[in-house]
């Protein structure tokens, strides 16, 4: 098992901002990748207009600059020792195609359990009108290298 040395990780660390436009192409790619047949991005949308699936923003925390700096750019073998252990979502509004989304996040907890280090990252996604889209809580764990 790969052991990781994560430098500079503290409770309260601000992980920065990540902005992107939720293009129709991006939504369609996500629908294909997840075999989504709910019809929300089509005529079966319960909102009367096409909307993105609630989990379209599922990986946003990964792209926060602080997360990339702490966990990704330090390792030759991408995430070889980092395990995605838990995930929470609270959905407020579906994201609309074409809207610009902004994601912010921070580290809210770090602890040791069962021989691993665990970090909890809270992130929030809003659209360009300030509408809350989703709040996410991601828990990752790894074996600390000495």
């Amino acid at each position: 098992m790969v052991k990781l040395k994560v430098e500079g990780l503290k409770i309260g660390t601000d992980l920065g901002e990540y902005e992107y436009r939720l293009t129709p192409g991006r939504i369609i790619s996500y629908l294909e990748a997840t075999d989504d047949q709910t019809g929300w991005y089509g005529s079966d949308s319960p909102y009367g207009e096409p909307v993105a699936p609630p989990t379209v923003c599922d990986n946003d925390a990964y792209w926060l600059p602080g997360y990339q700096k702490l966990f990704i750019k330090n390792f030759d073998s991408l995430l070889g020792g980092l395990m995605h252990a838990k995930q929470e979502f609270e959905f407020f509004n579906p994201a609309r195609p074409g809207k610009k989304l902004k994601v912010t996040g921070r580290v809210v907890d770090i602890y040791n359990k069962r021989g691993r280090t665990w970090a909890v990252i809270d992130s929030r996604c809003v659209d360009e009108e300030g509408l809350d889209i989703v709040h996410s809580r991601l828990t990752v764990c790894w074996i600390e290298a000495v």
């Binding site: 073998s77 070889g80 995930q87 979502f89 959905f91």
Partner: protein
């Protein structure tokens, strides 16, 4: 297909979704060929100690969300909560089955928060992702 209502019975079993996941599924979800790592490349997976490519944990979560979207309808997008643990790695190919069961109802003003136990089983019927979901109906 929305089924949830405030008089849904505790014990109601949601219609399951069945998804076949293969190496190609994992590659499509995780950005192959742009991203070469243990979710997309067998060689990279074996280099860090896995027998083969590991499916990204968020993909079964997306399947659970689809099951809940079918069950709760619009309420899922506006009030859905999901909390899951990834308890076993998933090595494709696998048949994944989502499952959900109503476990409780709590009155919140004029609405009712319906709570579910949710999980995903692999081809061997082992639980790989487990947790809870809820929405206001």
């Amino acid at each position: 297909m929305t089924v949830a209502s405030n008089d849904i019975e505790v014990g109601y079993r949601l219609p399951s979704l069945i998804k076949m996941v293969t190496l190609e599924t994992s590659q499509l979800y995780s950005g192959w060929p742009k991203y070469r790592h243990y979710h997309t490349c067998e060689e990279e997976a074996q280099a860090v100690g896995f027998p083969t490519v590991v499916l990204q944990g968020l993909l079964p979560v997306a399947y659970i969300s689809q099951m809940c979207a079918n069950f709760f309808g619009k309420c899922w997008g506006n009030s859905g909560k999901l909390s899951v643990s990834m308890i076993k790695p998933i090595y494709p190919p696998q048949q994944l089955t989502t499952r959900g069961i109503v476990t409780g109802k709590t009155t919140k003003g004029t609405a009712v928060r319906v709570t579910l136990d949710v999980w995903v089983e692999d081809s061997q019927k082992r639980k790989v992702t487990v947790g809870t979901a809820s929405a206001l109906v």
